[in-house]
């Protein structure tokens, strides 16, 4: 048992953790998606201000996201669209981070061997 533990302890102390690209991507996607969803709805609940033309302006800066996320607006439906975009972008971002990270770990381990 001890021999096993020693082996595991060695692994615990020396091995670098490997990131699961799918899980990491999903988590980051979920976080970014939720941030957009909550931020959008927060602005809707907080309310906007009346513009010079008498129109109600809500979240003009966040609205700029619509330039990248086509269809996104600061509205409840927009928050759902934003969530989907955010989720997709976050997943890609997370997967990319994991992929690069694991690649470097792999290259390092290969070089060390």
């Amino acid at each position: 048992m001890n021999e096993l533990n020693e082996d595991e302890e060695k692994r615990l102390l020396t091995e670098a953790v490997k990131l699961d690209a799918t899980v990491f991507g999903l988590i980051l996607g979920l976080i970014i998606g939720l941030i957009i969803f909550i931020a959008t709805n927060w602005l809707i609940i907080a309310g906007g201000h009346v513009g010079p033309g008498g129109e109600v302006i809500i979240g003009p800066h966040l609205e700029l996201l619509g330039q990248f996320f086509i269809g996104y607006k600061v509205s409840f439906v927009g928050s759902i669209i934003g969530f989907v975009y955010g989720f997709a972008a976050g997943s890609i971002f997370g997967t990319l981070i994991s992929w690069v990270y694991n690649k470097i770990i792999y290259l390092r381990n290969t070089n060390n061997k």
Partner: protein, 621 residues
């Protein structure tokens, strides 16, 4: 090799817990056996001596185990005579009692605020500047408890017990207590330990223990009766004179009783006699280097001076540790607090004054009268009773009570193990039989496994009590077969078994390693930096082609931070470069903080486990 049970006859040397457990298990398995005990009483160091109706335990033996098969045997044999007793054992220092395990409030109250402050400071000093290298027991304890606690609560008592300065005792001996408490096992313990269904269960296990109504000797007397009704014969006053062996097998033993020697043959042999004696009794003698190795195994011996005092109550404890350097007594047992049935008259008290010495040293050679007199004086000096209140006393000498773990024992023991390992039908069990500081339950377990080996098992008895995890593996409420299969970890590792073991526990272990391994800071920093670079680079290129002025103006605000950034191909590279840099720094910091936090969690869990393990350190000195 004989395989039929009926053809087997096992010779067991020694009628202590290990020897009689072997006889008991063999009897249950339908195998004949003969036990040879050199004394006139069974139980070895777990015997109970009866003096004028007052029963004395040699040392004090708590029946406490986490090994269910052992607990089952105790229950099976003792039934209603197995009492559950409260445990109280304190340290007696400067005529004050200190709770053990230590309690802050009690220690501060007993030692005073100034002393307590010094203790805290010396503890902190030891934590900040530990002694390196940690070679001796003294250094080991100081590093964990601080110098002042060591001096008050460990030094005197340890030196009384072992007869050598703490600075000459190897740290390895103490380190055995926390052996196996690896970072990994600490984590596993923290993550996988199920909360007890009832916290009182844990509390009960710590604060109470089982004890036979008439002392531990009652257990072994009963076992003797049971096995003698079956297939076993127990020979008392029958020391083993010679052990005949040939071609890597023991053939027979020669026993001597009433000056008559008898040669008895058997198919299998289990020895619980001290290894040093076993080696010397082999016929033909083993090579001289093995004999020399045997001579290097030393033992600590033990004298109990039992005093009968005309007082109903002296102290409430089962036993107390005497840390006063002005008296020689190391521990005092109060037998009626172990079991009220140990004294015939409840108005009187019987105490066991325990002295540790070496066989044939000056102390050992003292006459019984002088020893009783010394014990009386010391009891009075300690303030427990007046000499005039002590109405009687007797002396019990117990040679080879403790195997000594000195500098030479390990190498010598390895040599002997290697030599005896070639004798296929001889198994060593018990405390002295293995020169291993086993408690009663582990001694019994070695015998149970030895019997399993006779029945075809392949258990490595030397692995019993070798690591901390072992204890934890024997879960309550598990079936015998399951427990024994758990004990397969004590078997020699063979490729297939090793692979099976590896794979069986691999899911959880893999998960722990996966979660708690370090995040490579550089790799994570590069990964976050690269992703950040791509993020801004693509966003900028996208806008460059889209050309919407609203967002361009907003994006250009970035050049307040990223000097030189604009919405252009060149700007995309400049902005991407900045993003890479900041992503790199953030990723590195995240990985660093994550590793530090997890490292702290692991360290905390290990310390917690270590402290739990050291709580009862005195019990194991």
């Amino acid at each position: 090799m004989l395989t039929r049970k009926e053809d087997k006859k096992v010779i067991i040397i020694g009628g202590g817990p290990a020897g009689l457990t072997a006889a008991y298990e063999l009897n249950k398995s339908g195998i004949r056996s003969e036990v040879f005990e050199k004394d006139d009483i069974v139980g070895g160091i777990s015997r109970t001596v009866n003096y004028k109706g007052y029963r004395f335990d040699i040392g004090g033996h708590r029946f406490f185990t986490k090994v269910k098969v052992v607990q089952d045997m105790w229950d099976e044999v003792l039934r209603k005579d197995f009492l559950l007793r409260d445990r109280l054992s304190r340290i007696y220092y400067r005529k004050k009692f200190f709770n053990y395990p230590f309690e802050v409030k009690n220690a501060v109250f007993g030692l005073g605020i100034f002393n307590s402050l010094l203790i805290v400071l010396s503890y902190l000093r030891a934590q900040v500047i530990p002694i390196r290298p940690e070679n001796t027991f003294e250094q080991w304890i100081i590093n964990r408890f601080g110098y002042r606690l060591y001096k008050i609560f460990f030094k005197t008592y340890t030196e009384k017990v072992w007869g050598i300065p703490c600075s000459e005792i190897s740290s390895e001996w103490a380190a055995q207590r926390i052996k196996g408490l690896s970072l990994f096992s600490a984590l596993k313990n923290a993550l996988l330990k199920k909360p007890p269904a009832d916290k009182n269960v844990i509390k009960t296990l710590i604060n109470s223990f089982h004890y036979p109504k008439l002392g531990p000797g009652m257990m072994w007397e009963k076992v003797r009766e049971i096995v003698e009704e079956g297939l076993c014969r127990v020979h008392m006053n029958s020391g083993i004179e010679k052990i005949y062996w040939h071609n890597d097998a023991v053939l027979a033993v020669e026993t001597c009783k009433d000056r008559t020697t008898t040669r008895i043959s058997g198919t299998d042999f289990i020895s619980s006699m001290p290894i040093r004696e076993l080696i010397a009794k082999l016929e033909p003698l083993p090579p001289s280097e093995i004999l020399k190795a045997g001579d290097k195994l030393n033992y600590r011996d033990f004298i109990t001076v039992s005093l009968i005092i005309d007082k109903k109550t002296i102290f409430e404890d089962n036993w107390i540790y005497i840390h006063d350097p002005n008296v020689k007594v190391g521990r005092i047992q109060n037998f009626k607090n172990w079991s009220p049935y140990m004294v015939p008259d409840p108005e009187k008290t019987s105490l066991g004054m325990e002295y540790f010495c070496f066989e044939n040293d000056e102390f050992w050679s003292m006459s019984n009268e002088n020893l009783v007199d010394l014990a009386k004086n010391e009891l009075e000096k300690l303030g427990f009773a007046k000499k005039s209140e002590i109405i009687d006393g007797t002396v019990v000498r117990m040679p080879k009570a403790y195997p000594v773990y000195d500098e030479e024992y390990k190498k010598a023991l390895e040599q002997i193990k290697e030599f005896l390992g070639k004798i296929s039908n001889l198994q060593l069990v018990g405390r002295n039989g293995m020169h291993k500081y086993n408690n009663q339950d582990h001694s019994m377990l070695t015998s149970m496994l030895a019997v399993k080996n006779i029945l075809g098992g392949h258990f490595d008895l030397w692995k019993v009590n070798a690591d901390q995890d072992y204890h934890e593996e024997i879960k309550e409420n598990e079936q015998l077969d399951k427990q024994l299969s758990d004990l397969s970890s004590t078997q020699p590792l063979i490729p297939s078994a090793f692979a099976m073991k590896k794979s069986s526990g691999s899911l959880i272990e893999k998960a722990i390693i996966r979660v708690f391994s370090r995040l490579d800071k550089f790799a994570f920093a590069v990964a976050v930096g690269t992703a950040s670079f791509l993020f801004l680079f693509l966003a900028t290129i996208f806008l460059e082609f889209k050309g919407d002025q609203n967002i361009v103006q907003s994006m250009l605000l970035l050049n307040n931070y990223f000097v030189g950034y604009d919405i252009s191909i060149k700007g995309a590279f400049i902005g991407g470069g900045y993003c890479f840099l900041w992503g790199f720094i953030s990723g590195w910091l995240f990985a660093y903080i994550r590793n530090l936090s997890l490292g702290f969690v692991i360290y905390k869990e290990k310390k917690k486990l270590e402290n739990q393990s050291l709580k009862d350190l005195l019990d194991y000195i």
